[in-house]
């Protein structure tokens, strides 16, 4: 089985940068981050009672939510056919996430509280306004800077971590929604009666063409629902 636990976004470096570097706002790590110490949903959650968000109190302000929405909508802008993250509840997702009392949400909680203060400061420095008031072009300029900076060293390590962490969560949260699934072209399973048919005609054609182009055998493969061709045999392990 796949390891069931993995930390999204990894660990942000704890080192604190206060020295001002030309054109870059210092990372405001002195801003207080709310403590979260209530219980989780427990080992026997009531699936039919608990809904889309956990039973813990939510800590994000409306301003944080708007700031996150702006960030997320730049990562995955709406298209003619697919809604923006802000239209599929990305703010509620982040609020649930940073409010959750589990250890690997701690980094993101800190990142959100420090990071949007930093984004405001950086926006002020570059464009004399706040993150929420930036034009898309201006915000994109800052995000580009964050995305291209090193997370290991240099003046933008913390913003670079923030970018990676929130980008990953945005993408993960977006594509787990029904709208995200449609945009991905994921065909969700539907209950069937009778045998599972396997790939559709188009998918089978694609696979047969591929397999034949690789000079592999197609004829003896078990294609589609039963019964199956049993001509393939392997006898290499028989005792001599």
């Amino acid at each position: 089985m796949a390891a069931a636990l993995s930390v999204v976004g990894g660990c942000a470096p704890k080192s604190i940068k206060t020295a001002a570097v030309d054109g870059i706002a210092p990372w405001p790590s002195n801003i207080a981050v709310p403590e979260v110490d209530h219980a989780g949903y427990g080992q026997f959650p009531d699936y039919f009672e608990i809904g889309e968000v956990g039973p813990w109190p939510k800590i994000l302000s409306d301003q944080h939510k708007r700031q996150l929405e702006k960030f997320a909508d730049l990562i995955l802008p709406a298209t003619e056919t697919a809604p923006a993250p802000s239209d599929v509840g990305i703010a509620e997702f982040f609020d649930d996430w940073v409010s959750a009392p589990y250890p690997w949400m701690t980094d993101t909680r800190r990142t959100v509280h420090h990071g949007f203060a930093w984004l405001d400061a950086q926006a002020e420095l570059m464009f004399k306004t706040k993150w929420l008031d930036l034009s898309d072009a201006q915000a994109t300029e800052i995000l580009t800077m964050m995305s291209e900076s090193s997370r290991e060293s240099g003046p933008l390590t913390q913003p670079a971590w923030m970018y990676k962490n929130l980008r990953e969560l945005t993408i993960g949260a977006y594509y787990t929604t029904p709208e995200g699934e449609v945009d991905l072209g994921h065909v969700a399973a539907q209950p069937l009666t009778g045998d599972y048919p396997g790939p559709t005609g188009e998918a089978l054609d694609h696979m047969r063409d591929l397999i034949l182009s690789l000079d592999l055998e197609w004829e003896d493969l078990p294609v589609g629902p039963p019964p199956y061709d049993t001509s393939y045999a392997f006898t290499g392990d028989e005792p001599k």
Partner: protein, 567 residues
């Protein structure tokens, strides 16, 4: 739950997973009065969250310290059961996944159900690195047949010598391979590795009250229609119908009690809700709490101050602990980018596998590892998107954002396929569990401490897997993107494959084994072990079917001895 469950049971069975469920099923069918004790709660079929989407759960249903395998996972399994911690020796990172629910880990296991073959029972003769089983394949065959008839198996028979088939009147039709599974089958066969549709404990036809799979819901959450076998939906209801079964839940068994004559008189337990202790009396006791938990109960059941525990004159309780060495090699296939979409979910679990093919080469001594492995195949766009699995698709081109990112993710969705190796470990001196000398669980009983080491047998096997998997991926036109690091880094974590067995080995020598060939403890006449603890070796063929076939067989032995007054 009452504190003292004082009825005249014939047998108290501890644990309701694969082994315990089968014991309860077989014993009650033979007219034996059984009390089944389970530390977890019961879960009604209608309470299984089969259809919920990942976004209908907190945190998109990812695993947390409360639910280690994901919010909806049925096993209520965890490494971090807060009331029941465990420790490991320094430098050892053992993962002890446990269940706490009626049905145990069968509620969410991956349902792969290959039989062991004739060779697997006689490794002592073949390579001498571990003992022969005290039974042969021919002796076990009727019990495999009987077990599979009640479990329900779909798949095809391979016709290969050491991979025995299921009788055609029991075997249900196999499930159609997915597109990427066809590709891997064709490639494997071309490089000389056999590939077949696998045996799954998943119904493709109705069986009794259980319905055939409808191919739409993650089996690891549990299957309320019983299509995916689990002890809780497929064995315990049948046992219940006999009127011979009593189930006590949320009762954690702490010790086996013995009388002046050294025979077991029942068990003590603690109510996990209230902490109140109780005891259950019975003519005999079956331990099936899973290999290490059973060892823990035996070790805890010694006389006060004795480290040796009960049924441990051999000193072998907790020894011979093995898990399955595993590695995952992932391929990226440009040819699968933007491929035609379809419902690839199927029965959720793998539909195909590659059985071990190298027995002759190993006999000739041309391989530098003694035991076999098999290959499992996954990914594509089989599962619904998961929050922490999207990175693979979004980060191929660096951490880009904005216009174009959606196309990028869509293009890569479904273009990765991984091969998972599942090998056989040879038991060694350094791998065992014992009682921790200091730490206690919530109720004051000592916790388990694990010691574990892979040996070169396993590392060499991992290297062989890596080479083979690369060949299969590359022959199919793919590029290996992960899994080829040093075997010491890539091998799975000890315990990580959740196939821990061997801690109460059965055999023919009372000085070297804990149980006789029927799972009866040599030192305690009316005490049996019916979980993975009794397995003398841990073939790569996933353990649950063997655990259940043995429980089926050994329950008949116990029932017979109860009937003829031996017990």
């Amino acid at each position: 739950m009452t504190n003292v469950v004082n009825e005249d049971y014939d047998v108290v069975v501890v644990g309701s997973g694969g082994g315990g469920g089968m014991a309860a099923y077989r014993l009650t069918a033979l007219g034996v009065k059984v009390c089944l004790v389970e530390q977890g709660p019961n879960q009604a079929p209608e309470d299984i969250p089969m259809f919920q989407r990942n976004d209908e759960a907190p945190l998109r249903a990812i695993g947390t310290p409360d639910k280690n395998w994901g919010y909806f996972d049925n096993g209520i399994c965890g490494t971090w059961l807060p009331d029941q911690p465990y420790t490991s020796d320094e430098g050892v990172d053992f993962t002890w996944y446990r269940a706490q629910v009626v049905g145990g880990r069968t509620n969410h296991y991956a349902r792969h159900s290959p039989r062991m073959g004739p060779y697997d029972f006689i490794q002592g003769d073949l390579d001498g690195l571990s003992p022969n089983w005290p039974v042969t394949y021919d002796e076990m065959k009727p019990y495999y047949d009987a077990t599979e008839a009640v479990v329900g198996i779909s798949g095809v028979n391979t016709g290969m010598y050491n991979h025995p088939g299921t009788p055609e009147d029991i075997l249900q039709p196999a499930i159609a391979p997915r597109a990427y599974e066809l590709l891997m089958m064709a490639s494997a066969r071309k490089v000389g590795v056999p590939a077949f549709q696998r045996h799954n404990a998943i119904l493709t036809r109705n069986l009794g009250d259980r319905l055939a799979c409808f191919y739409a819901t993650p089996c690891m959450r549990g299957c309320s229609i019983g299509a995916a076998f689990s002890s809780s939906t497929s064995l315990i209801p049948l046992a219940d119908k006999t009127g011979k079964l009593t189930i006590v839940t949320r009762a954690k068994v702490c010790t086996v009690e013995t009388g002046a004559d050294g025979k077991a008189t029942g068990v003590t337990f603690v109510d996990t809700q209230t902490g109140v202790e109780g005891r259950i009396k019975a003519r005999s006791v079956v331990l099936a709490a899973s290999a290490c938990a059973t060892a823990q109960i035996l070790l805890t059941s010694g006389k006060a101050g004795s480290k040796d525990g009960l049924a441990n004159n051999s000193g072998q309780v907790g020894r011979n602990l093995t898990d399955t060495p595993a590695v995952r090699v992932t391929g990226k296939f440009a040819s699968l980018e933007n491929r035609p979409r379809y419902d690839e979910f199927g029965a959720n679990m793998d539909h195909i596998y590659m059985p071990w093919w190298g027995y002759e080469a190993q006999k000739k001594g041309v391989m530098d590892f003694p035991r076999g492995y098999h290959i499992e195949v996954g990914q594509g766009f089989r599962d619904a998107p998961e929050l922490n699995a999207m990175q693979q698709y979004s980060d191929r081109n660096g951490l880009v954002f904005g216009e174009g990112l959606r196309d990028e993710i869509r293009r890569h969705w479904g273009s990765f396929v991984y091969l998972d190796g599942r090998g056989e470990m040879v038991a060694n001196e350094k791998s065992y569990c014992a009682l921790d000398s200091e730490m206690k669980n919530k109720w004051g009983y000592p916790v388990l401490r694990f010691s574990f080491e892979w040996s070169d047998y396993e590392y060499n096997q991992i290297e062989h897997m890596q080479e083979t998997f690369s060949a299969i991926i590359e022959r199919a036109g793919g590029e290996v993107v992960s899994g080829l690091g040093a075997s010491k880094d890539e091998i799975s974590k000890p315990g990580g494959m959740v196939h821990e067995v061997g801690t109460t080995r059965m055999g023919t020598d009372p000085d070297a084994t804990v149980c006789n060939p029927y799972g009866q403890c040599w030192d305690v006449d009316n005490l049996y072990v019916m979980d993975g603890g009794v397995l003398p070796t841990n073939p790569h063929k996933n353990p649950t079917l063997h655990i259940m076939a043995l429980a089926y067989r050994n329950s008949e032995n116990l029932a017979e001895r109860l009937r003829n007054g031996e017990i």
